[in-house]
């Protein structure tokens, strides 16, 4: 069993439930190490004290903060925990809100929140039951790894999942980006209608398992070939999808009409339109099905 990332209490009114936090995601990426090119040996990163010129173990590393006068204040983990003693050990539920009120722009990382021990399990189950399928999530704040997080907590089956969220001042305004859009370039009504028709033709239920990380698979194949001593020539790209026609930006309307004709042709060619609607042969994950039911 993996070690929890954080342990503390989930506090709901005057009820305190000891809980531990685990990441809900695992890293599936293809990771590379640094090698020394001439001899192929691994590279090690060493922390060296600039004053003494010697390697320093991690236990001797402190968190430094530079003051205005150029002096440094060194802080330990204990100092940081002391800055917010309650928040470092407690997730205080401050409110319950409708989940759909949270704009996805606020969402950060998902975690699983589980009871720390058997005696905590009943109070935990109580909170799961109390939220039930109301569509409401609990909102709270806590400190983990010297960082305060706004979090939302939602029941998923018999478990509580926690998502860290960004604070309001960490979400940038879109005004600067919107200002870059050419004000004169107003699309015609027919163009927008065609674009909406394409959206309608390509609409499917969200089935996350239908989308796979092909790049990861490409890299793994490339590593295998290289391991066997094969030479890697430029396009491993031949195995990728057909290259698309060149940009058609000057003739937007033509591109919209052709797309629509083509998609409609494909959809009717496949017989029933409904049959074409599911993205691939993958079954819907439990998660997405439960979620669809809940949100509808």
């Amino acid at each position: 069993m993996t070690r929890p990332l954080w342990s503390g209490s989930l506090s709901f009114g005057l009820v305190n439930v000891p809980v531990v936090l685990h990441s809900a995601v695992r890293d599936r990426g293809v990771h590379f190490s640094q090698l020394h090119e001439p001899d192929g040996s691994p590279i090690q990163t060493r922390r060296v004290c600039a004053l003494e010129g010697r390697e320093v173990p991690y236990s001797e590393i402190a968190k430094g903060y530079e003051m205005e006068d150029g002096s440094w204040v060194l802080l330990s983990e204990e100092d940081l925990a002391a800055a917010a003693p309650r928040k470092s050990h407690t997730i205080d539920i401050e409110a319950f809100i409708e989940e759909r009120e949270i704009d996805p722009i606020y969402l950060d990382r998902p975690y699983l929140l589980i009871p720390e021990n058997e005696s905590a399990a009943r109070a935990y189950a109580l909170l799961v039951e109390a939220m039930g399928d109301s569509g409401r999530v609990a909102l709270g704040r806590f400190v983990m790894r010297a960082k305060e997080h706004l979090v939302s907590i939602r029941p998923r089956g018999e478990l509580l999942t926690l998502t860290t969220m960004r604070f309001h001042d960490e979400v940038r305004s879109s005004v600067d980006v919107a200002a870059e859009i050419e004000a004169e370039a107003v699309p015609g009504g027919e163009q927008v209608e065609n674009a909406m028709a394409i959206i309608a033709e390509l609409e499917v239920p969200f089935e996350p398992a239908a989308y796979r990380d092909e790049h990861r698979a490409h890299l793994q194949r490339l590593i295998k070939r290289k391991q066997k001593g094969q030479k890697i020539s430029a396009p491993a790209a031949a195995t990728m999808s057909e290259p698309k026609p060149t940009p058609t930006a000057p003739d937007l309307m033509g591109a919209l009409e052709q797309s629509l004709a083509r998609i409609r042709g494909e959809n009717s060619g496949a017989g029933k339109k409904k049959a074409k609607k599911a993205p691939a042969a993958q079954p819907a994950s439990r998660r997405s099905r439960a979620n669809t039911k809940r949100s509808r």
Binding site: G29, E94, S119, R141, P187
Partner: protein, 313 residues
Amino acid sequence: MPRSLWNGTIAFGLVRVPVRLHTATESKSISFRERHSSDGAAIAHRRVCTAEDREVPYSEIAKGFEVSSGSYVMLSKEEIAAAEGPEAHVIDVEHFVDGREIDPAYYERAYYLSPGKLGDEAYRTLHSALKSSGRVGIGRFLFHGKAHLAALRALEEVIVLHTMRFADEFADPRELEIAKADKRPSKLEIDTARLLVEQLVASFEPESYENSYRAAVLEVIEQKARGEKIQAPRRQEQTGEGELLSALRASLEEGHARKRRRPASAKPSPAEEAPRSSGLSSRSPVKGPRSSGGSSSSSKGASSARRRTRGEG
């Protein structure tokens, strides 16, 4: 003009929309540097070849994949780029979905898109169509050497791109040992807990949740700078199983008392000192007045340290 992180094209049917990617979020956490605890000196990170035991320049570094313990396959940058294929700069929109079907756990990072060269009309067409239909485009693209599932949606006047996790990136909760209660909560306990939930129902007003920890850390830094000792914290007590119902009832009582003291406000405000915004849609994170940096309660003491608050990375 905001800098872009990435330039590419949204492919949507046969339509190509050249776009530029901008960050939509920024961390406001206090960032620290590594220092040596005994002498306070800076810490340098040195890349050392383990065979020769000497520091090597960046130009001599290659990427290696560990196929078995201590055995690597070395790949050049060109070979890794070859795996990206010709579509490396295309966000290929495969489907459109109802955004309400997407579990929040899938969302990773948010970016704003602006139109690339000659793309304004196509951008606005897609934006209008997304906005009117309320649908979210789902596609895949390569960014920073990694493939991402992406969601495209309209937010105010711009298109937002969310990188999304792939379904196989989620851990299986069955791999965790989860303590089970030997007795289910009673109906009375559940009903009382539901009353407590009702008492705490509010609408989401992101502005009213301030990061107060930043100010608290700056305060500790000031104390430390003055040579004061920092007191260690203590942990919360657990609510015993037998006390569950009495704790719930006491919480309800407390909530009622709070309401009686403030009869004007119908809902409990999570951060009572923060001004409540009026009339702004809470779904929209970027409307309304934006405070610049720390505000209100944090204006004591830590003025010389606060200037150094900055985003990470």
